[in-house]
Symmetry: C2
Subunit: 204 residues, 2 copies
DNA sequence: CGACTAAGGGAACCCGAGTTCCGATAGCCT
DNA sequence: AGGCTATCGGAACTCGGGTTCCCTTAGTCG
């Protein structure tokens, strides 16, 4: 059996290696936000990052891998959820945060590009799924707290409720292309709460 | 002012031109379903379609334009909605149809590729939005009928309800990657009905 | 049915993304 | 501090996607 050589950057992750990764991920985010996933070529990223073209090809190899790494990096910096004492208010805050993110020019384009990456590349897909798993888990507490307070039926699936808030917003963002407003956010949250109260997401 | 030359294929749309378009769109669908949008290069499509490479580049030019044309072609063949006499049943049928489509190996991959195309190319995006507008309009009748029967509150936005059924299914398909089942379909429909009954999508 | 010309297609060409090779730089361990 | 070597990076190379040129085929109209 041959000793599998460690992935480049994993043996000496500090110092210069870390600086290169940071510069490359920043440049990759810029390119994705400005021109989309189809324009993410590694030579251009290297140029912008002020880094050798060879380095980017050696460490990441494909646009999909680079997008996946950026997603994993983004997953580590999650914004804290709210805790107002009312599920309706908490989920409304969550919905408005999603709308604000998708409506922001840079963030909106970046998310479009990252979703496109995940639909083109298996590694990016896994990274995107991890990213949303983290985001959903972060807000699931709002729902479990609410069931304990008796605001929602017992055994309500918290992940399903949180996902139900984002779903219509992403559907408008991706599938129908309708511009999002705070009204959409409020309705998305209200719909999720109404369905949860009706017991749609109770276990079995 | 120079006379803008008509787009190739628009002056003599019949006969050979139509056959070429059909063969190219079929080949494009095959490539998208098998290898995804990032693998959609026009030379490969021309080879599979048994058509000159030059022809494909002249008539479509970019992968995005080709994907857009395929979407417009798909939008013309819409499946008829159900009319069971109960919104809950109609929307459940719709949800199960969506799940069946996204779960089907070929269709699922094809839709992933087409959504990716729409996130990479403006023309493909417009075509995708038209496609879903057609699909939603087709099923909106279920909701308007239901409001007339008194099953749902008056002035309920029919498009919003139909979109709310698909939204969580696409969210699972794209964002979280969770595999879809008929249970997901039933819950999506039930959630939409519960929210509609609660008046979430009543006008103003 | 014949003419006009839109559309198709073969072949050579070009250019830049991606690869390879090897020397330079700088983490990390003792 | 010193040495080992992981990692970076410049430069030359290749290979195939995309373009161009021009001839051939076949719709469309009278």
């Amino acid at each position: 059996m041959s000793a599998m050589p460690a992935a480049p950057g994993s043996v000496r992750p500090g110092g210069r290696t870390a600086r290169v990764r940071e510069a490359v991920l920043r440049a990759a985010g810029d390119v994705l936000a400005e021109a989309g996933f189809e324009a993410l070529d590694l030579a251009e990223v290297a140029r912008r990052a002020g880094v050798g073209k060879t380095t980017v090809y050696r460490r990441w190899g494909t646009p999909g891998t680079l997008a996946a790494d950026l997603l994993d990096d983004m997953a580590t910096s999650s914004a804290a959820r709210t805790d107002t004492g009312s599920v309706a208010d908490d989920l409304r805050a969550n919905a408005r945060l999603v709308v604000r993110t998708l409506t922001d020019p840079r963030q909106g384009r970046l998310f479009k590009a990252l979703i496109a990456a995940s639909l083109c590349d298996a590694q990016a897909a896994e990274a995107l799924h991890r990213f949303y798993a983290v985001r959903i888990a972060e807000w699931a507490g709002c729902v479990t707290d609410a069931t304990e307070r008796g605001e929602l039926p017992a055994a309500t699936d918290p992940h399903a409720v949180v996902a139900a808030v984002s779903a219509p917003l992403y559907y408008a963002f991706v599938n129908t292309g309708r511009p999002l407003t705070d009204t959409d956010a409020d309705r998305a949250a209200a719909a999720a709460v109404a369905a949860a109260r009706a017991g749609v997401w109770q276990a079995s």
